[in-house]
């Protein structure tokens, strides 16, 4: 009979150790403040913040969100207060908690991204940078860098020259072959990859004969996209050596474990925070329960452990 043991939920991405593999998908959790009323932020592996640019962005006109079968569309357009307010308000707030800070960075030009990355370099509390080259809802920048391998290579290598923290490129699923993007990011020196961002979708209100979202198209998220995300995480894990932060429709610990078995070193809960504000904590507890049940000592044993 084994002595009483506790599963080790800690995991690592690009040299950064997280106490558990559960994070929050950018844009679904603000900077943690709004969900702090529901969950103990100290328990999270990390808070991944809403995308921040060099200057404030007003975002898109409303309606910005619409429900679709098993998920939702959004076209927020990366409304954010800019790096100044973020450094003065959001970072000090998050520093009050025993969780890692991952900052999602957005921009319209390579220089915009560099400006933000350099400012964040002054803040040692920021553990990791997630570079948003995959938001489908803004007209300039973002996805323009994430849908062509050469553009992705260029921005990744530029940011690597300026970043003090490890650089994680967030990949778009709106491409023909996501492994081509993953390889380009790896070749350019990226330290990690996160995927998937939302899938571009559309909804039409047949009664008013209008687009449900003012931007016409929006990014789809929610449980309905999960099988696509798991498939892409698996493909990317096979194609590159970089650690992966996996996400897309995660609602439960079972979902999270699928991503880990497919090759993710950590996972993010996104749209499901809106449906179940306690989802992140339930996923953490459920992973621990699974590890006890199957006598899994460390998360590392599960990463990419799927087999034929």
């Amino acid at each position: 009979m084994d002595a009483v043991w506790t599963p080790d939920l800690s995991t690592e991405i690009a040299g950064v150790t997280f106490k558990n593999p559960v994070m929050t998908a950018s844009g679904t959790f603000g900077s943690g403040m709004e969900y702090g009323e529901f969950v103990d932020l100290n328990r999270l592996g990390a808070v991944v913040t809403k995308g921040v640019a060099n200057v404030p962005w007003p975002g898109n006109p409303t309606p910005r969100v619409a429900e679709v079968y098993g998920g939702m569309l959004n076209a927020i357009g990366l409304q954010n207060p800019g790096i100044d307010v973020f450094m003065e308000r959001d970072i000090p707030f998050l520093k009050n908690y025993d969780t890692k800070i991952v900052v999602n960075v957005c921009g319209k030009s390579v220089q915009d991204y560099i400006d933000v990355v350099e400012r964040l370099g002054d803040e040692p509390a920021v553990a990791l940078l997630e570079i948003n080259v995959s938001c489908p809802n803004v007209k300039e920048g973002a996805i323009a860098f994430g849908q062509k391998a050469d553009a992705l290579y260029n921005i990744t290598s530029e940011l690597k020259k300026h970043a003090k923290q490890p650089v994680m490129m967030k990949l778009s699923p709106n491409v023909t072959d996501i492994t081509e993007m993953a390889r380009a990011a790896e070749a350019a020196g990226a330290d990690a990859l996160s995927l998937i961002n939302t899938l571009t979708g559309m909804k039409i209100d047949i009664h008013r004969r209008k687009f449900a979202i003012a931007n016409k198209t929006g990014g789809m998220s929610g449980p309905a996209i999960k099988p696509i995300a798991v498939r892409m995480v698996y493909q990317v894990a096979q194609a590159v050596k970089l650690p992966i932060l996996g996400m897309g429709g995660i609602a439960t610990a079972e979902d999270a474990i699928e991503f880990i078995l497919a090759g993710a070193s950590a996972v993010s809960v996104g749209a499901m925070n809106f449906v179940n504000p306690y989802a992140t904590i339930e996923v953490i507890d459920g992973i621990e329960e699974y590890m006890r049940k199957y006598q899994v000592k460390t998360i590392k044993e599960l990463i990419g452990a799927v087999h034929e």
Binding site: P56, G59, T62, P63, E67, Q79, P223, F274
Partner: protein, 262 residues
């Protein structure tokens, strides 16, 4: 404190065509204020997001909440089937609510249009308590026709003036027509209803130079201020994103009319 909790249906009835009156027993009732709302979750997993529905009334013992809503889609159609004893998941309380103290000792208009009428009930009740009676509390409500739901409840706490689109009850026309026809006036306005009505109220408040607090609606996802899905253009820089876009779910849903561009 905001929380998502399991709640129990006390009763439900249809009080006008496709308009349902639902009482639920929930701990969320304890701190609920007029003008705040709750997120009600459908059970059907293809419809995931909470439905924002304003609080119509809080029971005297503060253990139950009343919502009055119109069937607008799959989620509300599902809610309309709930019966006593059923469980329903509810998140709340959400939003800022009406600044009731602005109506202290004043002549007030409570203006509601259509499915914007329900929040006026708890507001009338609270103002009535605060001001020590009905005096000066004037509810002006607009309906399509003679299905004047909540009229009797509102009359218990306020003077009620009615406008109907078809002229079957009260003034034929909208709430502004009812104000003119009855020759009534106020020092402050609280309102909830369709956008054309709110625009008319904003204009009226500016012309007569009185404050108007209006409750806005927008498609929402999280309901707690995280997703930035439901925003309204504001005159002043908003405190969250500093881009003149306030979050209706948390900075609102009630705004002073002159502060928002609608």
């Amino acid at each position: 404190m905001k929380q998502k909790v399991d709640s129990i249906v006390v009763s439900q009835k249809e009080i006008a065509p496709a308009i349902f009156d639902l009482w639920i027993e929930t701990v969320i009732a304890r701190d609920a204020k007029p003008g705040q709302f709750i997120g009600v979750f459908p059970e059907n997993k293809s419809t995931l997001l909470p439905r924002p529905i304003s609080i119509c009334e809080v029971s005297e013992d503060r253990k139950s909440l009343r919502i009055v809503y119109r069937i607008a889609g799959q989620g509300t159609a599902e809610f309309s089937k709930l019966t006593a004893g059923d469980h329903v998941q509810v998140m709340g309380t959400l939003g800022n609510g009406f600044p009731v103290e602005e109506g202290k000792g004043k002549k007030v208009f409570l203006m509601g249009g259509g499915i914007g009428i329900p929040p006026m009930l708890q507001l009338a009740k609270t103002l009535n308590e605060q001001n020590g009676g009905k005096a000066g509390i004037q509810t002006v409500v607009g309906y399509r026709d003679d299905k004047t739901f909540l009229k009797e409840d509102l009359e218990r706490y306020s003077e009620v003036y009615i406008a109907t689109e078809d002229g079957s009850v009260g003034t034929k026309g909208n709430i502004m027509d009812a104000v003119r026809e009855n020759g009534i006036s106020a020092d402050v306005i609280f309102a909830c209803g369709p956008m054309p009505m709110l625009r008319a109220i904003k204009k009226f408040a500016e012309e007569t130079n009185i404050p108007a607090y209006i409750s806005l609606e927008e498609h929402m996802a999280c309901g707690v201020g995280a997703c930035l899905g439901c925003v309204v253009k504001t005159k002043e820089v908003d405190h969250h994103s500093h881009v003149n876009n306030a979050r209706i779910c948390t900075d609102g849903p009630v705004f002073e009319a002159k502060e928002v561009e609608i």
